[in-house]
C-alpha cells in the first residue's frame, strides 16, 4: 500500500489456490472491496484465455466486464513509466490461474497479458509454478522499460529471484535457498519497505551526488591546462606540480566524497517511510541524467576558467613584497592548486546534506593533509634527497607567505562558489521539490515522534470479508464445521491477520506470514 504511493506496482505470484490467494489479497489491502472490478482469468484453452484477456482489456478501456479472483503468495513488481496507465482512474485487479497463465505466456498472448496487467492496479497469479514465476518476470523485463524486483522465501522462488533485476530472498523458515540466490536478503517481508524506500533511495541519491561532484571536480582540475595552453604555446606544460596531479584525486579530494557517498542522507529514515513518493525521482532518473551531467560539466568548466584567469590576471605583473619575482611558473602552480583544493572542498561542503563527524573529519582533514603534504614536498629535506624529482623546493613557503596570494585565493573561492550557491538557493525557493519540502519540515520540527506508517492497518477495517480459508480438501470442511479442531487451534480470520493466534494449521501459518506487507518496487 505504501509502496503503491511510491509508484511501485505489486504483483503476486503464488502456488496457492485461488481462494487462499484472494483472501490474502484482501487482507493485505491489495484487493479491496472498493475496487471497480477484479478480473479472473481461468480459461482452460488458449482461445478461452485469449477471449477473457481481451474482454477484460476492453472493459477497462471502456467496454465489457469480467470478474475473477485469485490467490496471493508472493509478489513481484514493476514500476510503470508509461503515461497510459496513469489515465486509468478506476482501480482494477487481475487474477490469473496458473493454468491460464501457461496459455497467456504464449508468444501470441503475452503482449495482451502484459498490457492488461499493466492497466490493473494489482495482479495476482495463483497456482503458479516456479518456472512460470520466472517467465512472468522475464516478460516484464523484456517488454517494459522498468526494473523488476522479485522477493521470495522458498526454493521455488529461486528462478524468479534470479531472473529479476533485483532479487531479494527471505531467509528463515523455508531455508536458505532463496537467500543464497538473491542480491539482498533479510528475514522478514516487511523489511522490504525499508530496503526500498530508505536504503534504495538513499543509495540512488548518494550515487548521483557522488557522480556529479566527481565530474565537476575533475573537469575543474583538468581544464585549467586547456586554458594554460593558450599561454604556453600549446606545449602541454602542466600547470601544477607533478606530485599534485598524482595526489589530487587520491588523497586530497577522495575522502570527502567518499564520506558523502557513504553517509549522506537528504531526508531521514522516518520521513523516507512517511512520504513514499520521495521515491519517484529515482524511478524517473531525475537526479542524474544527460541534463544534470551537462550542468555538472559546465560548472566544472566555468570553475576551471575562473581558477585560471583570476590568478593569471593577478600574477602576470605581480611581484613579492621584497621585490623579487613572483610571476613564475611554480608560484602560479601552487596558487592555483591551493585554490582548487579549497574550492573543491567548499563545493563538497555545500553539497553534503548530512554532516556527520566523519564528514567533518574527512573534509577538514583533507585540507590539512593537502597543506601538510605541500609543505613536506617542497621542503629542503625532500629536495636534498631527490633534487630532480622535487623541483618545487621552497615555493610553498615563499608563495603562501605572501598576503597577495591569499587575497587571490579568497577571490577565486568566492567567485567560484557564489553562483552555485545562488542558483541552488533560488531553486529551492522557487521550485521546491518534495525532497526540499520534507527537509524543511524536518528542520522545523526536529523532534517529531515516529508515527508508524500503518496506513494499511487503518484501512483494514473496511474489509468486510470473513475468510475461512481452508479450501484445499473436502474433508476439512466437515472437520471445521463440526468444531472438533476448535480446541487445539482457532480458525484464522483473514480480517485481522496480526492477531492470528497459535494455529497449527498450515493455512494459518501462511496467513501469518503473509501479514507483513510485502511490496517490491523498482
Amino acid at each position: 500500500a505504501c509502496l503503491g504511493l511510491a509508484d511501485i506496482k505489486i504483483w503476486v505470484l503464488t502456488g496457492d489456490k485461488l481462494e487462499t490467494a484472494m483472501n490474502i489479497g484482501y487482507s493485505c489491502n491489495m484487493l479491496r472491496d472498493d475496487m471497480n472490478e477484479v478480473f479472473v482469468i481461468s480459461g482452460h484453452t488458449l482461445l478461452e484465455v485469449q477471449q477473457q484477456l481481451r474482454s477484460a482489456k476492453e472493459h477497462i478501456l471502456g467496454l465489457s466486464r469480467v470478474s475473477s479472483a485469485g490467490d496471493v503468495e508472493k509478489t513481484d513488481m514493476f514500476a510503470e513509466d508509461s503515461v497510459f496507465e496513469e489515465t486509468i482512474i478506476a482501480e482494477y485487479a487481475l487474477v490469473i490461474n496458473g493454468h491460464s497463465l501457461a496459455h497467456a505466456l504464449e508468444p501470441q498472448l503475452e503482449h495482451t497479458l502484459l498490457d492488461l496487467a499493466c492497466l490493473c492496479k494489482t495482479v495476482i497469479c495463483c497456482r503458479v509454478t516456479p518456472m512460470q514465476k520466472a517467465q512472468v518476470v522475464e516478460l516484464v523485463k523484456r517488454h517494459k522499460r522498468a526494473v523488476t524486483l522479485a522477493i521470495g522465501d522458498g526454493a521455488n522462488d529461486v528462478s524468479m529471484i534470479k531472473t529479476a533485476h533485483i532479487g531479494v530472498g527471505i531467509s528463515g523458515q523455508e531455508g536458505m535457498q532463496a537467500a543464497l540466490a538473491s542480491d539482498y536478503s533479510f528475514a522478514q517481508f516487511r523489511y522490504l519497505q525499508r530496503l526500498l524506500l530508505v536504503h534504495g533511495r538513499w543509495s540512488y541519491f548518494r550515487m548521483c551526488n557522488f557522480l556529479c561532484y566527481f565530474f565537476y571536480k575533475n573537469f575543474a582540475f583538468t581544464l585549467v591546462h586547456f586554458w594554460y595552453g593558450f599561454f604556453c604555446g600549446f606545449s602541454a606544460q602542466t600547470v601544477y606540480d607533478q606530485w599534485f596531479i598524482t595526489l589530487f584525486n587520491i588523497v586530497y579530494t577522495s575522502l570527502p566524497v567518499l564520506a558523502m557517498g557513504l553517509f549522506d542522507q537528504d531526508v531521514n529514515d522516518q520521513n523516507s517511510l512517511r512520504y513514499p513518493s520521495l521515491y519517484k525521482p529515482g524511478q524517473q532518473n531525475l537526479l542524474f541524467n544527460k541534463r544534470q551531467f551537462f550542468m555538472c560539466t559546465l560548472q566544472g568548466m566555468g570553475t576551471s576558467f575562473l581558477l585560471f584567469f583570476i590568478p593569471y590576471g593577478a600574477f602576470s605583473v605581480t611581484v613579492k613584497e621584497d621585490g623579487s619575482n613572483f610571476s613564475d611558473q611554480q608560484a602560479f602552480a601552487v596558487t592555483i592548486a591551493t585554490s582548487l583544493v579549497i574550492v573543491a572542498s567548499v563545493q563538497i561542503g555545500l553539497e553534503t546534506h548530512y554532516w556527520t563527524a566523519v564528514n567533518h573529519l574527512f573534509i577538514w582533514g583533507s585540507l590539512t593533509v593537502y597543506f601538510a603534504i605541500l609543505f613536506a614536498m617542497q621542503s629542503n629535506g625532500m629536495f636534498g634527497i631527490f633534487p630532480s624529482n622535487f623541483p618545487f623546493i621552497g615555493t610553498a613557503r615563499n608563495c603562501l607567505s605572501e598576503k597577495s596570494v591569499w587575497l587571490v585565493i579568497l577571490l577565486t573561492t568566492v567567485v567560484c562558489v557564489v553562483p552555485g550557491l545562488a542558483v541552488s538557493f533560488l531553486r529551492v525557493d522557487l521550485f521546491p521539490t518534495l525532497t526540499d519540502k520534507v527537509r524543511h519540515l524536518q528542520q522545523t520540527t526536529k523532534r517529531q515522534g515516529p508515527q508508524e506508517q500503518n496506513l494499511r492497518r487503518v484501512r483494514r477495517t473496511s474489509s468486510r470479508r470473513s475468510a475461512y480459508a481452508f479450501s484445499h480438501q473436502q474433508g476439512y470442511g466437515e472437520l471445521i464445521t463440526s468444531g472438533k479442531n476448535m480446541r487445539t487451534s482457532t480458525v484464522s480470520s483473514a480480517r485481522s491477520p496480526q492477531r492470528t493466534p497459535h494455529s497449527s494449521n498450515w493455512i494459518e501459518n501462511m496467513l501469518k506470514r503473509k501479514n507483513e506487507v510485502s511490496c517490491i518496487s523498482v
Binding site: 531467509s171 528463515g172 528475514a187 522478514q188 523489511y191 599561454f231 604556453c232 604555446g233 606545449s235 602541454a236 553517509f263 542522507q265 529514515d269 583570476i310 590576471g313 593577478a314 602576470s316 605583473v317 605581480t318 611581484v319 613584497e321 621585490g323 619575482n325 613572483f326 610571476s327 613564475d328 611558473q329 546534506h353 548530512y354 554532516w355 556527520t356 566523519v358 629542503n380 633534487p387 630532480s388 623546493i393 621552497g394 613557503r397 615563499n398 605572501e402 598576503k403 587575497l407 587571490v408 579568497l410 577571490l411 568566492v414 557564489v418 550557491l421 545562488a422 541552488s424 538557493f425 533560488l426 529551492v428 525557493d429 522557487l430 521546491p432 518534495l434 524543511h440 519540515l441 528542520q443
Partner: protein
Amino acid sequence: MGKEKAKSGSLARRPDNSAFKQQRLPAWSPMLTANTVLPFFYFMSLICMLLGVWLLLTVQSTQEIKVDYTHAGECNVCFEIRKNMSNAGESCICTVEFSIEKPFKGDVFFYYGLQNFHQNLRRYMDSRDDAQMVGWKENLKNPSIYCEPFKKDQNGLPIAPCGAVANSIFNDSFTLTYIDSSGTEHKVPLLRRGITWYTDKNVKFRNPKVDNLTLAQVFEGTTKPLYWQKPVYELDPHQATNNGFINDDLIVWMREAAFPNFKKLYGILYRANKPFTKGLPAGNYKIEISYNFPVQYFRGRKQVVLTTLTWFGGQNHFLPIAYLVTSSLILLIAVVLTVVWLKFGKNGKNMEE
C-alpha cells in the same frame, strides 16, 4: 531502526545496532534558508568591496615606469647587429633616455622585462638539471638526459650548467645614471645582490664543493654553455658568494616565468648616499645598455621597468578591480535573491503531502 524481531536462529547474524552501522550518526543537516544565505551574500559583498577599495588605494600609491628599448634610438643599431649570430662576440652599447616627473619615494626596484619569450614551454622547462645545479658531482660530469641537446658540446665535454634554460640566460647589463638639474651625472647605485628567493640561493642552487680547490678547478672537465661568453665560474670572480651556480642573475633567470610577458628583478636601489636617500628623485635619467640578448628571432621586445612597491607588490590593478567587480556582482545577486524571496519564497515551501 534495527531488526527488532529477527527470525529465530539468525539472531547471531544480526548487524550491530550501533549508530554507525544503522546510519543513525548524530549529524548536522544544514539547509539553504533565506536566513543564512542572504546575510552571507551581503556580508561577502561588503568584504569584497572593502578589500577592493583598500587594495586600490594601496596600488595607487605605487609608481612605475617602463622603458621599451628594443629599437629605441641608438639601440636600433645594436638590434641590427644582433640579428647576425656571428657578431655574438661583439659588444654593443646603446643609451636610452627617459625622465621621471614625480620622485619615486622609498625603495625602487629595477627590472628587465621580456615580451613574447615563452619560458613556460614544456621542453624548455624540462631542459635543466636541478641535481647538477645543487652541486652533485656525478651530475656535474654527467648531466641529465633532459638537457639534450645542451648536454655536451661537440667535443664531448659536459656543459655546466646544462640545458636550454641556462643557455638562454639574459645577458644585457644596465647602468643607470641620473642627470640632475645642474647637469651633473650621478651613477645610480644598484644592489645586485639579494634579488633572489632565500631558498633558491641557499638550498636549490649550490656550487659543487671540493676542499682545497678553487671553483675553476672544481669545474675542470666541463665547458660553458654554447651561448655564453664566459664560463660559469667567471660570472662574478670578485665575490665567491655570487660565483658559479649561485650567481644571482643565473638563479633569477632559472626560475621560469609562467607567462610569455614577464619581468625579472635586476637590482635594487642602494639608498645609502645622496641624492638617492629618499628614492629616485624626479628628473632626467639615462640607461646605458650593453645590448646582448637578441629578440628578433621570436619577435620579442625588451624593456626596463622601475617601480616602487607596497606589501601588495607593484602596480597590479587587476586584483583590486576584480574585487570591486565581484563585490558589485554579489550585491546585485543578493538584491535579486532578496526580492525573489520576499515576493515568492516566504510561503511557498512547507507543504505537506
